[in-house]
């Protein structure tokens, strides 16, 4: 016998959990099941590279909702359930164990898996990625025994783990192939500032550094060799080079996609009654000029989940939320809004040496993104300015003495 649920959600990250929450909030009367590879209830992922990693917050404090919440509302969980195939005609998914689950509607929120170094010899005991709580627990155990920590990739995960490692007293080296950190998501002014901050805390950051080889012995990495001849000895290696979307079963079933599974503005895939949300959903984003992108963020997961729940319940509204993101490293609060791509002007507002400043990105005189460091006022105003899309005066934007709020057109001020 095949179990059948009105809504089957694949994945229990922020996106999957939020689909269930949004359905409950809208008084969805049908049955809901969450199929997940994970063995614990939905939890927040951002702390895994921050307070969870430094043992300031245990798992029960980062659960998105407590166990009783899900149980009282009849949300079924299937843990350790890896979906390997999808039969859109029969409306069911097939698990690695052979078990089948039928659906009225399917919401794919499977996220992705961290990319691994392509030429790593065999599984090595002290090589880590960081995506889920199992990764984090393994990394925490590894860090305890390690003194020299090497990190490949200076994206958010790499930098946050570097900060946590430095706080824990480790000797941390970050190896980045690009000539600056956060190259994929931010401008050079922010990159320069963050490199200086990390270096001031003793983190060794190697830019334009490509891996030439990995030395291993007794099933463990012992050193990285860089193409410039440098050798970085390490007891623990963390690989933070991005995520590959987990969408193979959908694509195999005929869904349109490639780098992720394609969805329309209502989170519908090209398969009937199959939706996708979160990190794995390839969508035309109004803040990326309509380009098809994936966004890996809690905000995007949450907003797409709400959109999918509305579509499912016959009250559709397109997804058009301004992307935003945050990162905490040391005592730095970085808040970003919009998407850094295709801008023609970068404006520095405030002084990085004051450790409170913003970088504003403009295209055709309109604010398309902002990175704000310890500058919450700027961030709050920038969200309105990015959403509003009005033409702005670069000279005024650069003047930190003039609040950004004053540049919001009167009609947009609440």
């Amino acid at each position: 016998m095949t179990d059948v649920y009105d809504v089957v959600i694949v994945g229990s990250g922020h996106a999957g959990a939020q689909v269930a929450l949004a359905l409950l909030q809208r008084k969805f009367a049908g049955s809901i099941a969450i199929l997940t590879e994970e063995h614990v209830l939905p939890y927040e992922r951002p702390p895994l590279s921050k307070e969870y990693l430094t043992r300031e917050k245990p798992l029960d404090r980062i659960l998105i909702r407590p166990a009783a919440f899900w149980a009282e509302r009849g949300v079924s969980f299937r843990h350790g359930f890896r979906v390997v195939a999808l039969d859109p005609e029969a409306r069911r998914v097939i698990c690695a164990s052979g078990e089948r689950v039928g659906y009225g509607a399917l919401v794919w929120a499977a996220g992705g898996r961290p990319r691994m170094l392509p030429d790593l010899p065999a599984p090595l005991a002290n090589v880590h990625v960081l995506r889920n709580v199992e990764d984090a627990d393994r990394l925490m155990a590894g860090l305890e025994a390690a003194q020299r920590v090497a990190i490949v990739g200076a994206g958010y995960i790499g930098l946050e783990v570097a900060a946590a490692g430095a706080v824990l007293g480790k000797a941390v080296t970050v190896v980045e192939a690009a000539d600056r950190v956060l190259a994929r998501v931010s401008g050079p002014a922010l990159s320069r500032f963050l490199v200086e901050e990390h270096r001031a805390r003793g983190v060794d950051i190697r830019l334009s550094a490509t891996l030439a080889g990995i030395e291993a012995g007794a099933g463990r990495v012992t050193a990285l060799r860089l193409s410039d001849g440098a050798r970085i000895a390490c007891d623990c290696l963390i690989v933070g080079i991005g995520v590959a979307p987990a969408v193979a079963p959908l694509l195999a079933a005929g869904a349109r996609g490639g780098n992720g599974v394609w969805v329309d503005p209502f989170c519908r895939t090209t398969l009937p009654d199959v939706f996708a949300v979160g990190d794995c959903a390839l969508h035309a984003n109004p803040f990326a000029d309509g380009r098809e992108i994936r966004l890996e963020s809690v905000q995007n997961a949450t907003d797409m989940a709400k959109v999918a729940a509305r579509t499912l319940m016959g009250d559709p509204a397109p997804c058009e939320e301004v992307p935003w993101f945050w990162s905490n490293q040391y005592d730095l609060r970085l808040q970003s809004v919009g998407l850094v791509a295709g801008h023609d002007t970068e404006i520095l507002r405030g002084r990085p040496e004051d450790r409170s400043f913003s970088v504003l990105y403009l295209r055709d005189g309109r604010l398309c993104a902002a990175d704000c460091v310890n500058a919450v006022k700027d961030y709050v105003a920038a969200r309105r300015l990015v959403a509003g899309g009005t033409r702005l005066d670069p000279a005024r934007l650069a003047d930190a003495a003039t609040p950004l709020k004053e540049m919001i057109p009167a009609a947009a001020v609440c």
Partner: protein, 105 residues
């Protein structure tokens, strides 16, 4: 242990028990309110745990930081009694606190 009375977005009120040392946001989340998004998990980086606090209790709460004040400005529904629930630490002194979950932005 503090008893906290919570009014949800539909106007229904029920009470929940607070745990000393936890934030009000964590308490609301544990208390089963779907509406509390708390996207940033309580690190004061968003404003998705916005509540209105009964005026009688405003002075018993830890004062608002500049960051919290700025973040609340992001809400179209800000009122004088607005707070971010992640910035309120629950203690016995808050026994009887009444809060209302602010509308979604």
């Amino acid at each position: 242990m503090a008893t906290i009375y919570v009014c949800d977005r539909e106007g229904a009120e029920r009470s929940i028990q607070g745990t000393d040392g936890f934030s009000l946001m964590e308490t609301l989340r544990a208390g089963g309110f779907e509406e509390i998004l708390a996207i940033c998990g309580g690190c004061a980086s968003c404003a998705t745990c916005h509540v209105y606090v009964d005026a009688a209790f405003l002075e018993k709460l830890s004062p608002m930081s500049l960051d919290e004040d700025d973040l609340l400005d992001a809400s179209a529904h800000r009122r004088p009694e607005s707070r971010l629930s992640c910035q309120i630490r629950v203690s016995d002194a808050l026994d009887g606190l009444r809060v209302t979950i602010a509308p979604e932005d």
